[in-house]
């Protein structure tokens, strides 16, 4: 914001004097707004730092760090006290810790514009660790609710509230059904392989106009995708093997159980996978979320012309990223328990697929 005037001064655009005046006054307002924001954050800072005048003059990393570590210490000690807390008070005690953690999170967000990115990352990690500890305490110390009766009641409540909302806001209810109708219509239109059981499915993208492709609701199938596509969506697969040529955009996998995937892509996101092996070549870091028992190994697919397809997709080089997995459910330094590198002696060899044979062409 500070260099706005500078930018304006160097701008060569001829300006109507009136417009120019107006513009300058707006720039002033913009920088005023910015100043107010700075002042506000300074005020917040000096409130808590009133004891040391040196840090009250500017938002500094040091003053942030001292505030952050003070709060963290107090949260740590509250967490430690949880075990000694009277069970009747426990829930409110844990709630207040949760609120303190949220405040800390807010502090990081507000301070992040002047913090070095390392500090932002490490403080966010600290926060997620605190949350994890709190969550563990929560499940350990607070007895599970008895479901039998409450569940029914809440279901009724939900039903009632649904019908209430239908009565009070018919517009919303309508829009929802419209959107569903619209969706099912479109989903039918998009190219893909769906709802099969125990089949071998082959799709060759060479010379096709297909941009995005969907593979969904398959059980005990083998899927061979030859050639390259822009985007691949995989949804609800069970006991399947999927062999795919290069994807030049991204792959999104949601729901896979006891499967094997061999795929190459610029980006890969894996959600809700269980007991599944991935043989990947990927330009960026693959990510998993809500997944357990997933294992990773390098890409190992071969078909006639794959070298050229990979080269054209800029996926001809092994980046080693197949093993750089980020687990969004495990934001900490130690290895996530949800995924592992597939031991070499358990890996399949090179997989050779072809167009011909017993395959069924997808639509």
């Amino acid at each position: 914001m500070e260099n706005e005037e500078e930018v304006l001064a160097t701008s060569n655009e001829p300006l109507d004097p009136n417009l120019h005046k107006k513009h300058i006054s707006m720039i002033e307002r913009l920088s005023n707004r910015h100043q107010i924001r700075l002042d506000n954050s300074l005020a917040r800072q000096s409130e808590s730092d009133s004891s040391s005048s040196s840090t009250a003059t500017a938002p500094t990393t040091a003053s942030f760090l001292s505030r952050f570590s003070d709060s963290k210490r107090s949260i740590d000690s509250q967490l430690a006290q949880s075990r000694l807390t009277d069970p009747a008070q426990l829930r409110s005690h844990l709630d207040s810790i949760s609120a303190s953690i949220s405040d800390l999170e807010k502090l990081v967000a507000e301070s992040s514009y002047f913090l070095p990115s390392y500090e932002v990352r490490s403080s966010l990690k600290t926060i997620s660790d605190l949350k994890q500890t709190l969550e563990n305490l929560n499940s350990e110390l607070i007895p599970k609710k008895k479901f039998s009766f409450k569940n029914k009641a809440s279901k009724q409540d939900r039903d009632r509230s649904v019908s209430d909302s239908k009565q009070t806001a018919p517009g919303n209810a309508d829009s929802f059904s419209v959107s569903l109708e619209k969706l099912s219509f479109q989903v039918r239109d998009s190219p893909g392989l769906r709802n099969k059981n125990g089949e071998t499915l082959v799709k060759n993208f060479k010379g096709s106009e297909i941009g995005e492709f969907t593979v969904s609701d398959l059980d005990s199938c083998e899927v061979r995708l030859i050639g390259s596509v822009r985007a691949l969506f995989v949804h609800r697969l069970k006991n399947c093997r999927v062999y795919a040529g290069p994807v030049t955009g991204s792959i999104l996998i949601e729901g896979a159980e006891d499967c094997v995937f061999v795929m190459a892509s610029h980006q890969i996101r894996i959600h809700n996978a269980k007991g599944t092996d991935f043989y990947l070549r990927v330009r960026s870091r693959p990510i998993i979320e809500d997944s357990t028992g997933v294992r990773f190994a390098p890409y190992c697919l071969s078909y006639e012309g794959i070298e050229e397809d990979l080269r054209e997709a800029s996926l001809d080089e092994e980046t080693g990223n197949w093993g750089n997995v980020d687990d969004f459910k495990w934001l900490r330094a130690v290895q996530s328990p949800n995924w592992a590198v597939l031991p070499e002696n358990e890996r399949v060899g090179m997989v050779q697929i072809s167009n011909s044979g017993d395959g069924i062409e997808g639509n």
Partner: protein
């Protein structure tokens, strides 16, 4: 001006920010946390907050709402299956009081992919016409891959924020 970029994971938020800034977009990992970019756009300095869209970290979005001038909602036009998720998250976001004054730019990304529905069709699914009448909003089809539509979208957003600030003070 402070801009907040949000949307489901895999919609292309980081790619859009890098593309606008003229940076390499060939290797981008899914965002774990957030990125902040300060770029000079026309005569303005934009602080763009690009926040990760994975489900686990969507609850962190609210930490970035404060003082947002422009809100950019990015949609993966080719992800038909999750358009309902997308609508739900957007609806939740627009209920947020701290964002009530922010101009809303909806970028229908990945328009370059064959078979993707056009911006009008998506606007219908998202039921954008039902939005609060006081909201300033605009929907623009774009491709972070080719860069098409990005400048058109941000031109509108920056102009709209600027003109609101005229009126406001």
């Amino acid at each position: 001006m402070r801009m907040l970029m949000v949307g489901l994971d895999n919609s292309g938020k980081t790619t859009i920010v890098l593309k606008i800034n003229g940076e390499d977009t060939s290797v981008i990992s899914p965002t774990l946390g957030f990125n902040i970019k300060t770029i000079t756009y026309q005569k303005y300095t934009l602080n763009i907050w690009d926040v990760g869209g994975q489900k686990t970290i969507r609850s962190y979005w609210r930490n970035y709402f404060e003082q947002t001038d422009g809100l950019v909602w990015v949609v993966d036009s080719s992800d038909l299956r999750r358009l309902d998720d997308c609508k739900m998250e957007l609806d939740n976001l627009l209920k947020e009081e701290r964002l009530s004054g922010a101009s809303l730019l909806i970028l229908e990304n990945k328009q370059d992919i064959k078979g993707a529905p056009n911006p009008e069709e998506i606007a219908k699914v998202l039921n954008l016409e039902a939005m609060d009448k006081t909201r300033h909003w605009q929907i623009v089809g774009c491709s972070a891959y080719t860069g098409e539509g990005l400048l058109e979208g941000f031109d509108w957003l920056v102009q709209d924020v600027a003109s609101r600030i005229y009126v406001l003070d």
